[in-house]
Symmetry: none
Subunit: 120 residues, 4 copies
DNA sequence: GTGGTCTAGACCACA
DNA sequence: GTGGTCTAGACCACA
């Protein structure tokens, strides 16, 4: 499996989002141990420093924590994960509505777009 | 009127989006003459080069055209505007669904988020 | 002026603390422009990346902000600075008391140590 | 009893401080025999090597001594303990004042912070 | 083996 | 000129 990076977004952000998404959607379980920085960087074919940067950002968000000389783990705080998930969902829903309204598409028209999408 | 720029997105992109949105939602009418680059750059408080770059991108998209020595105008091609509007609306609807699904939120849950938003 | 680094503390933390202290005590004023990353790294004789790391940590704390292609500035939010100052002062006061009590020195004895210090 | 370690300070330092504090505050009496390294490492849930390192540092400071094949003991030199206690107290008092002054809090303001703390 | 730090230096977009 | 990103690779403490 070979990851494709979007050239317009910094790689460390894409790595970060990738792992974050895995935590939020439950693919990475609370308390689960992550692969080592070295392994992950090999797997994603990036420099260890780049991976380290992505992971340390996740750590400041408290989504992962480090046991020194041992490894990195997904937070056990399930409420935090749930909160981040809901906040994120609300945010992108808001952003979506904002963008639609900005180009002059009102609520009832938005529903049409959504229904068309739903019935695919 | 003072525009607030998001420091993480190139200013010329933000300018471009701004004007594009105005055309799509009809605030700028088909065939309407734009202010001069100089005026626009003063109005948005940006470097004229930056404004120039934004406008030339819009010109590549054919949303505006230049009459030499006379100024820049919104395209008169209403079908083009309509098409860009619909394509854009579909695209952001798709993006929205994709993002929600990525974090493990399925269609019926998406509807909940949308309803909550609708009833605000 | 040549900075001496403590070998047991990461350099970027020491840089960060240094600048943070300058902001908190008012040596760097709210809204003041910082020297460029390159200048600062020359001045402190560290690698630009190390300085960059220190500064970006200060940015996540919102004590500084970046104007792209322009430079970095001290936050204009004086309340935030004041808050960070007070929180920090409370924290080190608490830490001090805790440490003293841990080695079996009670409040009245602490006062003696403080008075002796005060009258120096 | 389960010790919580701060991940940013080497565990052996935290163990060392812990035992040192117990000696200084009298919880461990002069001449008292310590538990075996094996017991201590089980009790603190650390690797025996780590506990060994902590103890050997304490031995360098002469706060404990080893009777070969018999075990480790707290020093009987009460003056030494008293001296270390006072030195430590002075040191952290000095450090405290230094830190406060560094962020621009003068002596009279320090007193306010202390009084507020005292009256809790 | 684990994570953390740091350097040297290249390269980039933007203004 | 400004900040930002990324790589290659060394070195370190800790367990």
């Amino acid at each position: 499996m070979n990851y494709q990076f979007d050239n317009n977004i910094p790689i460390y952000i894409q790595l970060l989002d990738n792992i974050k998404t895995d935590i939020i959607c439950g693919k990475l379980k609370p308390g689960e141990k992550l692969s080592s920085v070295r392994e992950l960087s090999t797997q994603f074919k990036v420099n260890p420093n780049t991976m380290q940067k992505a992971l340390s950002e996740l750590e400041t968000e408290k989504l992962i924590y480090t046991e020194r000389t041992n490894g990195k783990y997904v937070t056990e705080d399930e409420k935090l994960i749930e909160k981040i998930k809901k906040d994120y969902a609300k945010k992108i829903t808001n952003d979506y509505f904002e963008k639609m309204q900005k180009i002059g598409i009102n609520d009832s028209e938005i529903i049409k777009y959504i229904n068309r999408k739903e019935n695919t």
